[in-house]
Amino acid sequence: MQLPEFEYIRPKSLAEGLQALAEHGPDAQIMSGGSDLLINMKFRLDTPKYLVSFNDVAELKAMETLPDGGMQIGAGCTLTQLAGSGELEDKYPALHDAVFSVGSKHVRNAATIGGNICLDTRCWYTNQSEHWRETRDGCFKTDTEECHVIKTAAKCHAINSSDSAPALMVLGATVVLASAKGERELPIVEFYNDDGVDHTVMQPGEFLARVLIPPPTGRSIYAKLAQRDGLDFASGTFAAGIVGSNESPESVCLVMGSVGPAPKVLDKSIEIIMGQGLNDDTIEAAALAARASLGEVTNLFTPSGYKRRLVKALVKDALNELRDKEA
């Protein structure tokens, strides 16, 4: 497969790049590592007129410890850089394990954290070659108001497979969106839309410049199930964070990933553990509640029945492990 034609813009500074994004609006697309975008372009799912790469902007490639003990990670840091950071592994094991689980070493060498957070949603019907797609009608992602996965759906059910997203959500991270007009910072839990086509709140002209993670306050874990350990996108993921003791936690955050267009905060399961602590009974109840909260599940990549069973097992195993983890 070959890439479609485009004009390439490689600004020397963040300001210059934001100016280019402002100027070209929806005609421009951001490329970071290109490990997802270039493939989507080969599939003709993305055909930007202008491709803007911020890879020459050094400030985006820095990871820093903040005075309060938290961390700031530039959008251009590669996943290999993150996976190799001892500080990240010590402070935020869930995030470390999440980024380490992405693709393969080859992919992580190119992939960036910014690109991972903004990763487009994927669907078995659409993320295929043009030729393959011609065998059926279009869908919400292309030119028809239809979803091939859930026929009755009024929106696109493509899946958000970002591994870093659920982990960053349980860690209470915020993202900084920069544009020519200035910056805005928002909690990553408010970053995603539950719609496969318009899957983030980012506006044309905006660029995700960095991620801020508050100082670690408790324990965290990341669990992922995929068809193969290497190379495959997840069939289901789960991130969990707990502050305080197993018996009377001060706060709990549980997030399920790769089951829908947005990572899903498991409110009911959180309520159970906040109310009664982390023990055999609540773990079972939280896992069941997670399964029940899935609602409409797509049979993408794995059958939906399998996905429901998987969710329960994933949540249960990970919470058991989290319970035994030292702070």
């Binding site: 485009f6 390439y8 290109g34 490990s35 493939i39 080969k42 190119a110 190379l231």
Partner: protein, 163 residues
Amino acid sequence: MAKQIITLTVNGDEHELAVAPYQTLLEVLRDELDLIGTKRGCTAGSCGVCTVNGEQGEAVLSCCTLAVDWNGRSVTTVEGVQEGTELHPIQKKFLEHGAVQCGFCTPGLVMSAKALLDVNTSPTERDINEAMAGAICRCTGHIKVKIAIREAAKALREREGAG
């Protein structure tokens, strides 16, 4: 679409090339420089047969890399691995242990293994799995490949010891 003149060093040789922004590094290596050792497989990041080594020796998927992004930089392809007239220990061990059947994946496997052994000549099982997970062989299975890599690591350690 305007082409851009880039300078690309491949296996130590500097080339001045006119490339369009949408040409991948793989296309430039194979179609412009006739270096067809680097294979064209899935062209979508998921097989690893197009692996070359970047400036730090890291594994780079040339099918998902824009050639213009390598302006002023250098890459090593499988054609640049042998040492003078001798094969590199990785290549020797692949041959010795029959880690090759059709051979299509071999350049990518060799370059993925080299990315690992260049920085770590005492890899654990996990290190090998991690380095090789992105490079797939459809014929041999990966057992013989892993034996070859372990043996190559040993040969490299012995050489380090002797040197």
